[in-house]
Amino acid sequence: MRAPSIPFEATIKWIKKETRDTSTYAILIKDREIQRTYHFRPGQFNMIYVPGIGEAPISISSAPEDHYINHTIRVAGDVTTAIGRLGQGDSLYIRGPFGKAWPVEEAEEREVMIVGGGLGIAPLRSVIRDLIKRQRGRGGRSKIGKILYGAKSPKDIIFRDEFPRYREFFDIFLTVDKADPEEYWKGETGFVTNLIDKIGFDPLYTVVFLCGPEAMMQAVIKEVLLHGVPGEKIFLSLERNMNCGMGICGHCMFGPRFVCKDGPVFRFTDIEEFFGIKEI
């Protein structure tokens, strides 16, 4: 049996540069036995370990059915920079999967509104692809829902080339905080929150999956609540400092919740009490 505190090896199969500082890594677990028993659900994350440098929690951005596990990683500090130095064929070490997943069942009963901000789209991509696979599996052709995605500028849009492929099942709305003068941008500008007013949806028949910077999530929640989406139908993925991934180091506490094991995906009403509290 593998202990949850011991990382195991995965090989980088390909790397796709998404933006200036963000790339997607497709990895394959090396050990056959672990490969066979490793199962994750959209929304879960791995602790990625670079020996000698350290660990970082990174969401899985692929769907369970995808051939490789994907991680979409932005170069931020020590660990992510070290990952950035790796190439195809190099090894990464991972522990996982950890955490609670997006409640896909909820999305299947309703129309899903997927709202991502910045890198927050990474864990959402997993659920987007999963939902599409499920819909296809059922032979369904109808739309599953909407994707609202806000990035800083057109250059910062992650998975930009993939969105057209998702259009078959999703209405897709992209917006950027600011369009670059150098780049031709015919889409929206402004924050994602602005989109919510424009798209038209049935609040009582919608479930919201949300991930992005905390301020953005607060704004979006306020907005969709105003539109009448019930709090129980809003799910969001939180970010906190993480060390162990198993709820025994104390770093990721958000009120009484361990973001690593009770989250990162939470039902809004389960954490509402703490959500607005500064420095919780």
Partner: protein, 254 residues
């Protein structure tokens, strides 16, 4: 692969911190295999030349000449690390900042005008950008090794910024402040020395400088309740890191 070029520089100091590099002993022998120590006046007879991947700076800035030199070293350095209380907080000699220098000079030198000394002793970071500050008077050997290794690997060193009490408790030492009312600076001082004073039953005297978010006022209030005077309190803080402790108090509005 070319070995990274390291430079070791000295300003106003006692040399203890750069000596710590040589004191790494076995690890030092390993180190010289990995890096190229290109400048280290105390150990190599070689002129200052070229660019450094990592510069390690000891000592505080106390003369006009040094101000120019440190600027030059910054220009030549990809990363610049300061080591020790002198370089990170002006050192013991910063005590002159709170007195008039002329009097100090006269006290020691019969002809004070001959001495080129700024009226202050200041940390290197007051003059140039510093990539990493390693605290301590002197720096801890393991911490120095961890810092050098980290820079070689391209990561930030994993060194504590929390209180010395944490290290003291991990080592299982009973608290001196609580059990004997010794005025220990541990609660406001960075961990990193190995709690060596407490092991010997001695109250911390602040070699490692203020920890993150040091609540100096509260501790001083407590000391006063224990019977220490205002003057005692000031003298407790005014040692190797007077500059840093004073700065924190100033920032906190005291």
């Amino acid at each position: 692969m070319k070995r990274p070029r390291i430079g070791v520089f000295k300003f106003t100091s006692c040399d203890g911190c750069q000596l710590t590099i040589l004191n790494m002993e076995e690890e030092f022998l390993e180190l010289i295999d990995i890096i190229d120590i290109s400048y280290f006046k105390e150990a190599i007879d070689r002129p200052l030349r070229g660019i450094f991947d990592i510069s390690i700076v000891e000592g505080s800035i106390t003369t006009n000449r040094q101000k120019e030199e440190i600027a030059d070293i910054r220009e030549r350095s990809r990363s610049l690390i300061t080591i020790g209380a002198c370089a990170t907080s002006g050192g013991l000699q910063a005590l002159r900042n709170w007195a008039s220098l002329t009097s100090y000079k006269e006290y020691i030198y019969p002809a004070p005008d001959l001495v080129d000394a700024l009226s202050t002793s200041t940390p290197v970071s007051d003059h140039i950008h510093v990539d990493y500050e390693l605290w301590g008077c002197p720096v801890n050997r393991e911490a120095l090794s961890e810092t050098i290794k980290s820079f070689l690997m391209g990561k930030k060193p994993t060194l504590p910024r929390y209180s010395l009490c944490m290290e003291c408790k991990r080592k299982g030492i009973p608290c001196l402040l609580v059990s004997s009312s010794d005025p220990c600076l541990g609660p406001i001082t960075k961990a990193g020395c190995g709690a060596i004073c407490m092991i010997f039953g001695r109250a911390c005297y602040g070699c490692f400088g203020p920890k993150d978010d040091a609540n100096i006022e509260s501790l001083m209030r407590w000391f006063k309740d224990l019977g220490f005077t205002q003057r005692d309190c000031i003298q407790l803080l005014d040692k190797m890191n007077s500059y840093a402790y004073r700065k924190v108090r100033l920032e906190q509005g005291h």
